[in-house]
Symmetry: D2
Subunit: 137 residues, 4 copies
Amino acid sequence: MSDITESVRALLDKSPFIRFLGIELLSVDQKQARGRMLFAEQYQNPYGSMHGGSLYALADTIAGTLANMCGNAVTTVDGTLHFLAPALHSEYIYCDATLRKSGSHLITVDVNITDDQGKLLDCGCFTYYRTEMVLAE
Amino acid sequence: MSDITESVRALLDKSPFIRFLGIELLSVDQKQARGRMLFAEQYQNPYGSMHGGSLYALADTIAGTLANMCGNAVTTVDGTLHFLAPALHSEYIYCDATLRKSGSHLITVDVNITDDQGKLLDCGCFTYYRTEMVLAE
Amino acid sequence: MSDITESVRALLDKSPFIRFLGIELLSVDQKQARGRMLFAEQYQNPYGSMHGGSLYALADTIAGTLANMCGNAVTTVDGTLHFLAPALHSEYIYCDATLRKSGSHLITVDVNITDDQGKLLDCGCFTYYRTEMVLAE
Amino acid sequence: MSDITESVRALLDKSPFIRFLGIELLSVDQKQARGRMLFAEQYQNPYGSMHGGSLYALADTIAGTLANMCGNAVTTVDGTLHFLAPALHSEYIYCDATLRKSGSHLITVDVNITDDQGKLLDCGCFTYYRTEMVLAE
C-alpha cells in the first residue's frame, strides 16, 4: 500500500461513522479510488438489503477521498445514487470512484458499486466544491 | 401518536442500521412524514459535520416510510441530496418528506432537512417503485 | 411588469434557442421566478408529449434567470428533472423557480412545472456557480 | 447503417423538436447508442454556449432511443446532466449512451457528451419506465 493511501486511511479513521461502517480504503491515486465495506446485517434496511444510506456513505466517502486528492479540502455539493440491483450473497460491497472533472472550483466524480463477482449494484455521481476547511482536531 | 405511526416505528426498529442512527419517526400520514436524528459525533465525517451518508439515511428512511404508506412495499429507485449548509449547534436534525407523485408504479417524494431553528440544511428528491417484496423475518 | 423583468426579458431574447421555444418570463424577484411556454407540437417528442429537452430548457432558463438575480452571472453546474405526469390539453406549460440557497459561490433553485390547471407535471433542482462571465455581444 | 438504425431514425424524424435540433442517430444496438447535433448558434443560451436544454434534448433522445431498443416503449422517469465544460470551436456535439440496467420495469442509461476532439463536456444518467404507450400517428 502506498504512503498516501496510508495517510488518507488515518484521516478517515478519525470519523466514528466511517469506523462504524467499516469502510476500508483499498487504493487511491489522482484519477480513481477504490474502497469496500462488509455486506453485514448491521448496515441493512428492514427488508434485509443494504440500507441506501450505508451505500451512500460508502460512495460519498470513497468519492470524497478522491476529490480530496486534487489538492484541497472539499465539501460535498450534491450526490445521487441509482439503486440498480440489491446485493445478495456477497461478502463485501465495493465502490470504485472515477474522476470526471477537476476544475478550479468544482470536482465531479462517478461511482460504481459492485459485489464480490463484480456485478453492478448501484451507480451515481457526486459533485464537490474546493475549500480550505480545516480538519477538526 | 397514531396507531399507524406506532406500527411503522416497530417496522423501522427491525433495522439495526436505523437503530444505530437513532432515526425516530415523529409522524406520518398519506401526504407527508417527519422524523429526526441526533446531531451527534458518531454520525459525523472527519471534518466534524454530519456525514452525507447519515443525512441520506435519514432522508431515505423518512421518505421511504411515506412511500410505503401508499399501500405497497417499495424499493428505492434513486435519490439525490443537495448539501446546502452544514449543521451547527443543533440538538436534532429533522427531515420532512412530502409526496409529489403517487402513480400506479412510481412514487416521488421531496425531502427537506432542517436544524432545531428550522434552517434549511439539505434538500433532495427520492423515487420509489412499488413492489410486493416480503418483509424479512 | 417591473423594469427588472423587462431588462431580463431583453437578455433572454438574445438567445435564438429561447426565442424558438417561445419561453416567456412572467415575473422575477430575489426569491422566485415564473415563466411559461406554449404546449405546442413543435416542442414534442415522437409520442406526442412535450420532449424532456424542451421542459428542461424551460426549467433551466427560468431557474437560471432567478440565479442571475443574485448579483453575478452564473453557469449551470447540474440540473435534474423528474417527469411525473405528461401534459394533456393545456395551452401553456408553466415553470415556477424558488431559491433554496444563495451562497457565496453556489446557488440552488427548485423548479415546479405545471399545466393551465396548476397540476404538477415535473419537478427538479438546478445548481449554479457564480462567475463573472461576460455576455456575448 | 443497419436496418434497425434506419427505422429508429424514421421514428425520431416524426418529432418536429428533434428535427429542429438536427439530432442525428449515428448507431444503436442493445447496449449503446451514439448520436450528434451541430454546435450552432440557434441552440445556444444568451452567453454563447450550448443551452442546457439543447444538450439535455440530445441526451434524452439518444438515451431514450437506447432504452426503446430493450423491447418496449418507454417514458422518461428522470434525468440529470452535469455540465463539466462548455463546448468551444466544435463542429458537432456527440452523445454516447450506455446501458447500465435493463430490468423488467426500469431501464437506466448513462450519457457522455463530447466535442469533436472527444473532450468530455457533460455527463449524466437517465431512468426510463417500460410501458406499452402507442406511437402517436
